[in-house]
Symmetry: C2
């Protein structure tokens, strides 16, 4: 038969791909723990209703749905936030606040394949639940900044764009728009940075036939600072929130990485306050991360009233940015010591030596096939071993082994009783 | 609304559950790397045919299947071996042999819920491809032993039971059974240790109405050692393989953990040689791990002829064993330093202090809500912080901070310029 390929939109991670992923995930883990976040996880699929009732149209269209043999309607998770809200809701008030959780979920969205978009991908999720103050939002902006810097990116490489759903809501209310119209408008505004200007203008006109309303929104979209918005709509409470957020960001030392951007809306229906997206400075890639406040979600799932804010960063766009910035992943050698055995030592002594070296917590391999010294050396190179240990042969008959340091080519012959200590010290 | 639960057979991992999982996964990773294995991963679902054609009935019945919006037939992966074989087949001979890969996949089987069995679970997979010699099988038995010992289990806690598909095949051929009958018989024999003896006898009689054949198999099943089998069927080549395997295991120093067991068959259709399962010594749990040789699979997926051997260990039974043996997971505190801020320091100085401590790579938190010192101390306890740093107040006015060591209650007042170095040294 012909070799089948994996399903469209998924990836095979061969060891060198996996090394990049492991590097990113380990770095994410480290940043999260430094910020005092605990790891959690949920099921890979959920009851379909968990998504259809809460996340809005964008996510619903993209679900991989299926029915199990008891006719339960299930869906592969397209995001982790509904699971998080469900888990927090289930524990009720037994769960100590604030909840500071992170996860690195694998997610699935059936969508058109584009650059930076796959149907199966990973995310970092960080969420703070139980805090209504925008200080929690600022803490998350500091955390998302740290995740980027920890990976070797610089403050020049990215920018966090922030706005507020509440701000939009308060403006729309002032313009006399009802909730359904506002929902439709958010969907259009979310495309501001994604569509060519003339197409966006058309969509806006279709959504807002009333020219007064449309003119007001167009003026709003021209605002570049909070002061610009305040000039149009003085005294909106949402503006104070945004200003406080920016002040906190200055205290965190990340003021240069955060900018107000009225064009940030976020597609998901459940956001209620601050929303933000992280972009590369040149704006050549899709959003690297995005998030915001979702104060109603835990309550809507039957839990106690729980203010909440969180963000997600995807692995696909991030990998593109790291590549564009030429940030390399440190190579991890497959083993530290490769045992090359002369004929008289194979396989018995080779096996016993490997067992002893591994018991000393040193990563070690040997040839699993009887072959010449030259071929074994090739295997040692392929495994990127730092040291080669020659067992048997002339040295073996004299109770010795030869150690070759592959970094500089030097060879030492040592007593068979000493080689483990010598390797241990050399590899420290 | 009422809070919905997650789907049946899945788990929610709250942070303390996740801590156990992270501990097991980290330990698995470490063992694999010590044995010179590289990590890989594949998609969470595959084209349905990847399973229906190769893995045999047991797996097929348990698939979660679904159709995507382009009418592709897909299935959540019930095991990783077909994906591994597909990935190796796709690279053809470009992939250097031996391939020594591990993975910690999440898997899905729609089956009856039992103790130690869930519908969504994790496994450790280790595979060696490109080596026909049973030395590779022995290397994997050494590796599976190390995974158990590294988790704190002892050689007294478990036993690896080994047999050989080839041995069964050679016996069945000597008894004149054709391939379809052999396949049926393997399915029955796989239940030897799982069914009450009288039910097993019934199933065997149904499968083998020929009393000569049945009598011969019943005699075979009474064999306790390779010598017992050799007495019944002298000179079977598969016996030599098993003897060599046991000899190699002795060289690896794991002879006491490995025993011949004619009752080990393995349900999957693709095994071709040595097969093995790991059980707790008391046999109170399901198999902890299982594996064997599958020399034909890569070729069947269109790749080059590639001998292969591998095993999988599940997380659910293992967790039960760790619990039964009272092996505790070391607690990981949520943060190292908690900042308690007096009113004059909140939030500005608290934020700046947290930012500085985190920049020093120290895990740190502070209250995200303005509250009294007592409430902040409660938060510090909940976060299991090793040190509490008091900022602001009287000390603050004198350019100092107070550090409380939560391990012994001692308090030190230090200059504000020095606290990071002091914390760094104390936490080393």
């Amino acid at each position: 038969m012909q070799t089948p390929a994996g399903p469209k939109g998924t990836r095979d991670f061969y060891p060198q791909d996996m090394a990049l992923q492991r590097h990113v995930f380990d770095s994410w883990q480290k940043t999260c723990r430094r910020f005092g976040f605990e790891e959690f996880e949920g099921p890979m699929f959920e009851h379909l209703e968990l998504y259809t009732q809460k996340s809005g149209e964008e996510v619903e269209r993209q679900l991989y749905t299926f029915t199990d043999k008891s006719d339960r309607h299930l869906a592969l998770r397209p995001e982790l936030t509904p699971t998080l809200a469900r888990m927090v809701a289930q524990k009720g008030s037994a769960l100590k606040r604030p909840v500071r959780w992170f996860a690195i979920p694998r997610l699935f969205r059936y969508e058109k394949m584009q650059r930076g978009r796959l149907r199966e991908f990973f995310q970092l999720n960080m969420d703070i639940l139980g805090i209504a103050d925008v200080l929690a939002d600022a803490e998350l902006l500091a955390a998302v900044t740290a995740t980027m810097l920890d990976l070797g990116l610089t403050a020049q490489d990215f920018m966090i764009h922030v706005s507020s759903r509440k701000l939009l809501e308060q403006v729309c209310a002032a313009l006399g728009m009802d909730a359904p119209l506002r929902g439709k408008l958010y969907g259009v505004l979310d495309k501001l940075n994604k569509l060519p200007p003339e197409i966006f203008a058309e969509e806006l006109a279709k959504c807002l036939p009333d020219t007064t309303q449309r003119g007001a929104i167009e003026s709003l979209l021209r605002a570049r600072t909070l002061a610009d918005v305040a000039a149009l709509y003085p005294g909106l409470p949402a503006l104070d929130d945004l200003q406080t957020l920016l002040d906190y960001c200055a205290e965190f030392g990340i003021a240069d990485s955060v900018a107000f951007d009225i064009g940030i809306v976020r597609g998901l229906a459940y956001y209620t306050g601050i929303v933000f997206e992280v972009f590369d400075t040149m704006r050549t890639l899709r959003a690297i991360a995005g998030g915001g406040r979702y104060d109603d979600l835990v309550k809507r799932y039957g839990g106690p009233d729980t203010p909440a804010v969180g963000f997600a960063a995807g692995d696909v766009v991030l990998a593109e940015l790291l590549k564009a910035k030429n940030i390399l992943v440190p190579a991890v050698p497959r083993c530290q010591v490769f045992i090359v055995a002369f004929d008289d030592a194979y396989p018995g002594l080779a096996i016993r030596t490997a067992a002893a070296i591994r018991r000393a917590q040193i990563a070690c391999e040997f040839s699993l096939k009887k072959t010449g010294v030259g071929k074994q050396m090739e295997q040692a190179h392929a495994a990127q071993a730092r040291f080669v240990l020659f067992v048997g042969g002339d040295e073996g008959r004299q109770g010795a082994v030869k150690i070759k340091d592959m970094a500089d080519g030097t060879e030492t012959t040592v007593n068979v009783a000493d080689y483990i200590d010598i390797l241990k010290r050399a590899l420290q």
